[in-house]
């Protein structure tokens, strides 16, 4: 999701809508609603691929129409993107051209039935030639590692994102090999809570398309395997105007998988004027204005650990900064759910055809910080 990149725009949308809330109501509701506004607007196969300022400018009418449907007198009305898409057709180049010529709008000609279907999140009469259901188990490790390399806190948060393209009204059940790993779960409204309570099975009639089926937290009692370590040596010497900087990244508990997409970022103290560094692999940049160092490492080769070494030029005369910078890490490990969670099987009831099923695992760094 491009949530972080679209942040400033999201705030702009907030401003558009805060006046809509007139009296005291539940605050989280407001915040959450404002957060949910961009969701249908920018997730991949909804309205626009990315929700950036020019896109909104170009499609003011569509945005307005969508918001109009989402909100009635300051109270959320319809927020499921499935329903919205039926009411207001997502813009395509062809449709834009036709609309300009004929003067019609994106408001759907046929009336949607979604809002009134028995299953509010799924429209009736869905048809696909290829019936497929894909599930991505994505786990993120949030961790704080202290100076000496020991873990201060580490937890695993996971989600199961689904892409379901199935004809008709399929009823799916998904079971896990080790459901007890899941300590705290939150479901898409389609999941039958009672089934989960009694049998630890996810049973649901899926919405059409992409949706987040489940997000979970792995119980804190289980130890979290930390797949990477960072060796660092950052020193500012009081007298000289040069500091030493050296970091090395290496794999730790990876269960035999490769760590990819490693990025190291660090906010350097104000006193650092410039950095003169050489990476053993990847590319690095240092922005002397924001003092942000970022190093795009790529894959970690356990035989030849990537490192970044060099010197920092410090402001002459200024004293040594109080704090060593913290190092933020991003990485990805394919085909591994670090908690050990495994999907046992996926069954479909209610429809005759045989769907194509797929499950993918991935582990990522969430908020992964190393204090130095």
């Amino acid at each position: 999701m491009s949530r972080t990149t679209s942040l400033p725009k999201r705030i702009k949308i907030h401003f558009m809508f805060f006046p809509a809330i007139l009296s005291d109501s539940t605050t989280v509701l407001e915040f959450q609603f404002s957060c949910s506004i961009p969701a249908p607007l920018h997730s991949e196969n909804d309205y626009f691929g990315v929700c950036s300022e020019p896109v909104i400018k170009d499609n003011v009418v569509v945005v307005y129409e969508v918001l109009e449907e989402m909100l009635d007198n300051g109270f959320p009305l319809a927020t499921e993107s499935n329903i919205l898409k039926e009411l207001i057709k997502p813009p395509t180049i062809l449709r834009t051209v036709v609309n300009t010529i004929t003067g019609s709008t994106n408001v759907g000609d046929q009336l949607p039935t979604g809002q009134l279907s028995v299953v509010p999140w799924r429209r009736t009469g869905v048809k696909y030639t290829n019936n497929e259901a894909y599930f991505d188990v994505i786990e993120e490790i949030d961790a704080i590692i202290d100076k000496s390399g020991s873990t201060i806190t580490a937890e695993i948060q996971g989600v199961i994102d689904a892409c379901v393209k199935l004809t008709g009204m399929p009823d799916l059940t998904l079971s896990f090999m080790n459901p007890r790993l899941l300590d705290d779960v939150s479901f898409h409204p389609c999941v039958r809570f009672k089934r989960w309570e009694s049998e630890r099975i996810l049973s649901f009639i899926p919405p059409d398309g992409n949706f987040r089926l489940l997000s979970y937290h792995v119980s804190a009692q289980n130890l979290v395997a930390i797949p990477v370590y960072v060796k660092h040596n950052i020193s500012f010497r009081d007298s000289s105007s040069l500091g030493r900087f050296e970091i090395t990244v290496g794999p730790k508990q990876t269960m035999g998988k490769t760590i990819e997409g490693v990025t190291v970022t660090s906010q350097m103290p104000k006193g650092v004027l410039n950095m003169n560094l050489t990476p053993s692999q990847g590319t690095h940049t240092f922005d002397p204005v924001t003092k942000m160092l970022s190093w795009d490492v790529g894959k970690i080769n356990p035989q030849k650990l990537p490192s970044l070494k060099g010197t920092m030029s410090l402001q002459a005369g200024a004293s040594k900064p109080d704090e060593n910078p913290t190092i933020n890490l991003q990485f990805k490990i394919q085909q591994l759910a670090i908690s050990g969670l495994k999907v046992n099987r996926l069954d479909m009831y209610g429809e005759k055809y045989k769907p194509f099923k797929g499950i993918k695992y991935m582990t990522k760094a969430g908020k992964f910080q190393v204090r130095t």
């Binding site: 009336l111 028995v118 300590d183 939150s186 997000s215």
Partner: protein, 1050 residues
Amino acid sequence: MSAAPAYSEDKGGSAGPGEPEYGHDPASGGIFSSDYKRHDDLKEMLDTNKDSLKLEAMKRIVAMIARGKNASDLFPAVVKNVACKNIEDPNQLIRASALRVLSSIRVPIIVPIMMLAIKEAASDMSPYVRKTAAHAIPKLYSLDSDQKDQLIEVIEKLLADKTTLVAGSVVMAFEEVCPERIDLIHKNYRKLCNLLIDVEEWGQVVIISMLTRYARTQFLSPTQNESLLEENAEKAFYGSDEDEAKGAGSEETAAAALPARKPYVMDPDHRLLLRNTKPLLQSRSAAVVMAVAQLYFHLAPKAEVGVIAKALVRLLRSHSEVQYVVLQNVATMSIKRRGMFEPYLKSFYIRSTDPTQIKILKLEVLTNLANETNIPTVLREFQTYIRSMDKDFVAATIQAIGRCATNIGRVRDTCLNGLVQLLSNRDELVVAESVVVIKKLLQMQPAQHGEIIKHLAKLTDNIQVPMARASILWLIGEYCEHVPRIAPDVLRKMAKSFTAEEDIVKLQVINLAAKLYLTNSKQTKLLTQYVLSLAKYDQNYDIRDRARFTRQLIVPSEQGGALSRHAKKLFLAPKPAPVLESSFKDRDHFQLGSLSHLLNAKATGYQELPDWPEEAPDPSVRNVEVPEWTKCSNREKRKEKEKPFYSDSEGESGPTESADSDPESESESDSKSSSESGSGESSSESDNEDQDEDEEKGRGSESEQSEEDGKRKTKKKVPEGKGEASSSDEGSDSSSSSSESEMTSESEEEQLEPASWRRKTPPSSKSAPATKEISLLDLEDFTPPSVQPVSPPAIVSTSLAADLEGLTLTDSTLVPSLLSPVSGVGRQELLHRVAGEGLAVDYTFSRQPFSGDPHMVSVHIHFSNSSDTPIKGLHVGTPKLPAGISIQEFPEIESLAPGESATAVMGINFCDSTQAANFQLCTQTRQFYVSIQPPVGELMAPVFMSENEFKKEQGKLMGMNEITEKLMLPDTCQSDHIVVQKVTATANLGRVPCGTSDEYRFAGRTLTGGSLVLLTLDARPAGAAQLTVNSEKMVIGTMLVKDVIQALTQ
């Protein structure tokens, strides 16, 4: 309009309906006729049935507008035509949209039309249109508040609506228009509770917050009698038999009994609300989770509030806006209920990438959570924060350290030293903040800190931040006797720079001067007078006033002086140490989650959260009569409707599908499925008398149906779980399905047959009065209390085991030897005779399921009085328990005569950890602190499974969950019997039948989490053996391996 009648009559007379003559020229009366006259005829044209006339009128209106004439008078007539037509459209979506458009026109003149349209839409057959009608209500209300009474009627009507689509919107309208009419909710209360889970997310939020307010006015506070309540809540929650019976006894009796009986009994409706909102903590919507959290915080008994912590911590992962709101609420909650968030301490650790507001809120929470045990970790964290680049955050951290130091006496000196070290920090802000905090800390024990005050005095040369300077001056003045030499010198310096100082510093200089003058006038008289003279001509009148006032007090003139005798008392009175408090301390009088709470100020439209009533209002107002025939028809309809979706006839309908189509969904589905499963059961299994009884009861008392259904929901689980297991597995191991259901069914049966128990266990003569009700299952009951502590499984216990087997297991195929010996580890000392002043207390783990709560370990406590006076009022004092651990106390033992002994049973939920449960044992005169630490083997209960099943489960618990250890079995431990006995004595596991002779398998489940614990002992020739434990709980596994090896190799 007032002038119209004459003309309109006149017009009506001259031109009959359908007369085209006044349409001949669009601009006809444009110039000559008066405005109202022309408008009247147009209105009339618009009101006719003929389309051609309407069209003509519209043309003329458009022409008028085109020429810039004011046609606004005609607006309602046009609107009526345009919208009304659509409002009658056959398509429900068009009808709804028309209403939305109409109600969004904010022109007062169309109010009557809007009102009509809303009324009509409110009785529309499409729920979507009714929903739109509900949305239109607040719009009309804000346009014209005189319509309130009529609108309330509509709201009342819509509140009775049974579809989930409408529920959220109408409650929203209710909140906007008539939140004070709480009486409208009574009849709909149970329906709303039951529908809640199916309502869409935004509606859930509104309903939950309304119900919170409702509950505050209608139910009694659950905290007024906490201990009794816990017992009650527990029972209601697990839906034990007793409770069921009570509930079935209808609530009129409960209502009648309520005011009369003193002990608190939770209203079943109150319970219903808590139970039905709990699953929503799992919602994906942060708003819903937050709403449930605030509901629990405001309404749930203390023991149950804990469940929300986990969900709230989960929300900390979402966007920073949501995080901000959640943290604010957590900060407020953590002041009142600290224990709740303690296990999640680490989730509040701060990352350098957090925005400053989030950092400060997290800091607030961390400070609130700090206590004696975790303070070292918290302080270590704080130490890292102090070095942060974000200076506002550093300042807040220093404040937080100050608060920790005041709250936790043990670390005060450590904190103070740390803060003093910060005084040499290069950053002035840090130093200033430290000074302010140090000042507050020093006030608590100034005598010991002369050195620190001296150090601070030196800082006046360097620190420029006014607040810090003022603080130092105040400190020196207040404790000038500790620094007699330095104080006058500081005053000298300050006098020199007086004119350049900030106002607050000046005030403190005057203060310092006055204090020094009173204690050390010889050295400081001149200086004081100099300072006062400077202050007299200051620009700020506060300072001038203060100077004048001070002078009069300390340097009395001739005629005055009445007060000056008391000057010393005035200035140098001992002052109480300040209390460093959280800024969130009193915020909880605002409803959590509200905007007002966020701002800490009342926002417009905020509905005050009322206090609990003293006396419970009449609960019968919520009774709803449901005619029998509607139920039946609904039920049938429902069955038909569901068929296509659910190929398996589980009866467990999903949360939402039913929502729109079936009004009664929740309660209906439950009663249906329970009856289904009930009938299915009675045909396949034989021993379900109580089930059938329930059935009958359910049919019998139809008027109470809806309430009872709610109850049954939890209760129902038991038979269902059983039925499933027996259908899916081989018949031999029905009880292995899940320990929970097994336990519950066991306890049920216990209660069913108390008589037989009593017959089998002859009551011991001595301990009769104290133990009569509680220890029906107590083994130790009849062993004399003075007997040596280790009691090997006696004959009694095996016979008891057999009995137990007979009761719990429906199948008779199980061989008695598979059952583990019932008694666990021998007696342990809880309180020594000497320490207890004659009261000796031992405890044993009885390994019986605890009747109140299957998650609890049942502990038998044996008291014996070896003193020569009777001990009275033995009970458990307020336990101070680690998070998650809970205790079910034993009933008070009124009196224990000298030489006598008694036994009581208490339940402890150890939460699958071996942490000790600490509590107080109180007598009338004394309190003893005692603690029970469970051996890991007592945290589980045996599970019976087949070999295949065992292997299957073991296959799932490989890798990290498997712990293997090699050992040598001593010669004494070679026989089957001894090995089994030793293992089962160490851990409460059930033996699993096994094909090979040298392999022993045992299985159990942890009591709280229900995780499987599988133990395999593979004995090889010559004493070598391998022990394997498979369990998700790795800690338990590791400890168990250690314990079992120790037991075997001893």
